[in-house]
Subunit: 437 residues, 2 copies
Amino acid sequence: MSLVNPQTLKGFMELLPKDQILFNKVKEVIRSNYEKFGFLPIDTPVLEYKEVLLSKAGGETEKQIYEFTKGDTNIAMRFDLTVPLAKYCAKNQNELNFPFKRYQIAKVYRGERPQRGRFREFYQADIDIIGNESLSILNDAELPSVIYNIFKELEIGKFTIKINNRKILNGFYEELGLNNKVQEILRIIDKLDKIGIELVTNELRKMELDGLEISKILEFINLKGTNEEIIAKLENMNIKNEMFNLGVSELKEVVNNVYNFGVPKEYIQVDLTIARGLDYYTGTVYETMLDDYNIGSICSGGRYDNLASNFTTKKLPGVGISIGLTRLFDQLTNLGIIKSEKTTTTKILLVPMIEDKRNILKLANIFRSNNINTEVYMENKKLKAVLKYANNQEVPFVGIIGEEEENEKVILIKNMITGNQEKVNITDVQKIIDLIK
Amino acid sequence: MSLVNPQTLKGFMELLPKDQILFNKVKEVIRSNYEKFGFLPIDTPVLEYKEVLLSKAGGETEKQIYEFTKGDTNIAMRFDLTVPLAKYCAKNQNELNFPFKRYQIAKVYRGERPQRGRFREFYQADIDIIGNESLSILNDAELPSVIYNIFKELEIGKFTIKINNRKILNGFYEELGLNNKVQEILRIIDKLDKIGIELVTNELRKMELDGLEISKILEFINLKGTNEEIIAKLENMNIKNEMFNLGVSELKEVVNNVYNFGVPKEYIQVDLTIARGLDYYTGTVYETMLDDYNIGSICSGGRYDNLASNFTTKKLPGVGISIGLTRLFDQLTNLGIIKSEKTTTTKILLVPMIEDKRNILKLANIFRSNNINTEVYMENKKLKAVLKYANNQEVPFVGIIGEEEENEKVILIKNMITGNQEKVNITDVQKIIDLIK
């Protein structure tokens, strides 16, 4: 029989156990912090009715979607966790307790052209807070504090959570009489980081903006200073547009409260160039950058007026953020910012080199009931081969009972890092546990 | 704009948060026990090349598979975690440390006709131990002890792990000269529990077996007694067939050692009717039954000679078991064997009914750094609405600071279960923590 090539699809992350352990650790830091802030878990299906997933999508998303027909049902794989959340909230609106704080950490699918750092299957780690008819702006201030706690615990170095408000952008361009061109202007300005101010100016000129308009736009996006200074300058621009002024007051309230939530000032920065997509967000928007690495936003999100308008007439305003976990993990490990430390989650490898394995199996069960991950080596191999396995596995402790130890009623505990070894009476379980803890 | 019906695909489990919390708890018990026994995590993609997934499959599986073409690639969704494991081991054979003990708890997909208790997307929770060229029979004795620990911790009542060995079955029918009919006979006997002995006899007659053959088969599958008695009877059947005798000695060694691994005798039962599928397993096979409920096997598996023969010439024998988590959860909750107890994982809901929220936000952060899941109520609602939310959420404690408490510099801690409430000085953090822990 001819062999099939055991290959994994391109653009799909598949890790060796050592890296998987690190990945799971990162995922667990995110998960436990989400729960610490009172978010509840949900787990929606990977597959949905195509008409559910595409009720709002279009353009790029629709091209990238994995879809197929089974029987007479048009099925699609989810491309984010937000549309499934909208469906979930609409479907369960009478069962849910609002404000509904949910988290979901799960894989999503996009058939993009695979390239370095882009994945077709990737984890998103999302939190959203959904209100019934209304939702306090304070929630917009809480989300950065969740993110702050996660990235601090992950020890990924200094980062900055950038904040803006879409109402300020929309109001500003309305005031300039450029209502119809807002989306295109925002798309150009979004490229500022990548292409620089000159090319941005060129592109704005191509849109038939006049010199005064362009200079006002450049002045606006170049507003610099502390958060308080930028907000003061916005307040003093003497713009009458209502939406603009509402945006400024929202931004001010969010920024002031973020500090109260315990985020140090140097981690929060008002940035008027942040727009986050074109039609989804309606208020606060966030991006998060590593200060020392230019890898783009590692966590983004914002406020939306109405989550599920395609599914229900009930108004469900919300605010959410998403960590692109798979891509972030790939970047952090490639840059050496985080490193795999453990090849195994096992604490001790017990090796019975004797016929009667009962004592060592009993010991293994005692260790496990003390929450010590314990592996018993079952193969009938020479000690050299066993120690090679233990070394490759990087297990921190090995416990051996050979004939000599059996006669002496002891177990030889070997610290695989220091090389120290010590014989301990087989009945002195507490001493062994103290040694390896 | 017309609304899209926010429905979930049929046959796809989607839980409310309260049930999701219980589901996650069950999943975590399984996961932590897998790690306690030294199994390492892997996370293979949901999608694979179709030729990889179907390298061995056929028949029913092929009909049920979700597959599609993207660009010029034939893609399929995994229908189990074993074929992806085979691919993974073949692909990474030079990086892995054998014996390779891995666990994977993840969703798989089968486009079966949806019916009660059948799911098209469901979690499997698998462990396998893969050897390089050889693998000790002791591993076959360890797996039941992992399962025993999990189901004990889940408190699902008395259960029985049934054990058999395929070599005994194959050898027995070889001895009867029925080599060509083994698979069909096993398929009929597999239905014994469902259709009873008479219908099984009828079906055997239809296969043109003679009366002597049928009576020998019935005598064989009716061998009863303690595990030791059944094994003794098998040894005394005076069958010369080598495979049969190898099977009996393997079964004897597995059963004797399972006890040594700490599984009480009443949880293990040799059952010669267990066959587990038709061509995959080559030695030990397991099924697990609840004693008081007739819901079929809740955990099954066995020994196979060569995991990845479609992908590599390297011989990789293994033994594994799988818990069909989604179906099991559905059955256990429907029968009331396990019940959702918590609507939230949050320990305390803090409610600032005052303008200056800084003290309560500080307190929230202190709680969280003490690993106390803490939600702050952000909405500007009357206390009655807040307490209604707290009640619906079933949060165990509420901490309120209104104007009165602010003036007294205290927080009112209310135990939502007993109704007790107590004012505690806002600076006496340890006292508050002691109250709610």
